[in-house]
Amino acid sequence: MVAAFLTVLFDGVAYGSLLFVISVGMSVTMGLLSFINLAHGAFAMFGGYLAIGLMARWGVPFVATLPAVMIAFAAVGAVAERLLYRRVSRTRPLDQVLFTIGLAFMATALATRLWGPSQQGVVLPGMLTGQVQVLGLELGAYRLFLIAVVVAITTTLHLLVGHTRFGAQLRAAVDHPGAAAGLGIPVDHVVSISFALGSGLAALGGALGIDVLGLDPYFTFKYMVYFLLVVVVGGEGSIVGSAVAAVALGVFDVVGKYYIPQLGGFLIYGVMVILLLVFPGGLIRRRR
């Protein structure tokens, strides 16, 4: 009973950490530019497809596809930021919503055209399949791997943001872009780098998540609510907040679906509305 609950809890944490990796970039750009990017999930989706493509076409081992996907989409993100996002980043929220919904439609249609509407599967290496005994609990090896990767990423991000020159510039730009620019911080540059990094991480999350989140052309819209929720509940621009919100959301969703399946999506959407009402500024308030 307790063991079963702990296993479900563990699955929830794994799910939540994926949500975190995918949405953290969105949270940072939202904090930097107040830019509402509904197409952020498309990076994750294409990341997943790229990983599958690399494995199928060139026989790249799964673990090796992960850094490749991340680097490739960091580059794509940098280009997209320069060519597309920069042009709408200072417009009305309505324009941003329309623009990114348009991009999400294009991504969905493109993925359907290229890979068909069906679910994609991934063949994981033997090492990462099956169960592992940890402290008397049967835990999925892949989920364990996933959590380890995410913990490593989070630690790196935390060090990057908290203890480097770039991190200081980023925090300054999130707190007050105008003042930061006035102090000679290259805010545009900081935005470009964070956007690229966020896109890369989202793609990495998509590749990591094929086995957990699934992968089909509707990915962008299917998980849009979850990513938005992480950002809003975690507080725009807050990495720690996003992490807490993502894990909480993951646990809540998985535990809810396991124990009260008849509620379905009710639970998560209901919680979303309530959270937004109680904490309109996110769980962890940013100091202004």
Binding site: R87, P93, L228
Partner: protein
Amino acid sequence: MSEPRSPPRLPDDRWRAVDSALWLAPIVGYFAFPEHRVLGSQVIITALFALSLDLILGYAGIVSLGHAAFFGLGAYTAGLLAVHGWGEPLTGLLSAGVIAAAAGYATSFLVVRGRELAQLMITLGIGLLLVEAANKAAGVTGGVEGLPDVPIWRLAGTFRFDLAGNTAYWYSLVVAFGGFVLARRLVHSPFGLSLQAIREGARRMPALGAPVGRRLVAVFTIGAGLAGIAGALLVQTTQFVGLNMLEFQRSADVLIMLALGGTGRLYGAFLGAGLFMLMKDYLARQDPIYWQFWIGLLLVSVVLFARGGILGGIDAVRGWLAARRSR
């Protein structure tokens, strides 16, 4: 000596020749394309739906990603009434409007308190909750299957809803015209002006003594009611209710139409709905899956190059011409 300033005035609300011309177009369309009357009536209904969003979004500036919730609520109200033995169209329409407006009123308090992102999420959340609810309550709503063959009585006891869409066309047109006249009167009133002022600077309006929250609640309720009426129209003219009337796709589509036509202009809703529906009809026949790509591309291009949509573009050209002439 400077000219004495004329006191601020309300917008000119007179009916112009161009208004008459624009409203003659659907009447001409009825006779010109007799084989497309079903599509025509759906365009008109969708235009009314887009108009209801224009009040909320175009005038009051509330970005909603869940406006289909009210459309669907109206649709299910009319559908369920008819299924349970009351298929009279006009009272069905009215009940749908009242129910949707009541739901709009109840949810408006949640919507108007947040900033844009929160508004977006709350409207999205409410929409998704309603889809889940309709899906789970399959015993009442028919779930995924929906309610086919909703029995709708003759309009005014005389006109049967025929397969060719003749009754549907006139019925929708008259109701949409009524909605338009109401919306037009509303946005040209002091109330409508205060909405636009709130859109432009919500923080400054309380200083002028305008109750921002109450104004937004009022317009959200009216918009929801109109959306419900549009939903009921669609059910009564197609005799079908389904989950797709509530779904996110419909909320996104109506947003796209409004952006295409131009927000905050009333006619933008009609123009955008017409263009979008015809394009969708054409593109979906070319390729049932890939058409979304072109819609997305169009949306991206509108935001990049033609902000304000078609009517915004026309205004820009007219402004440019006027500036040239005065030089």
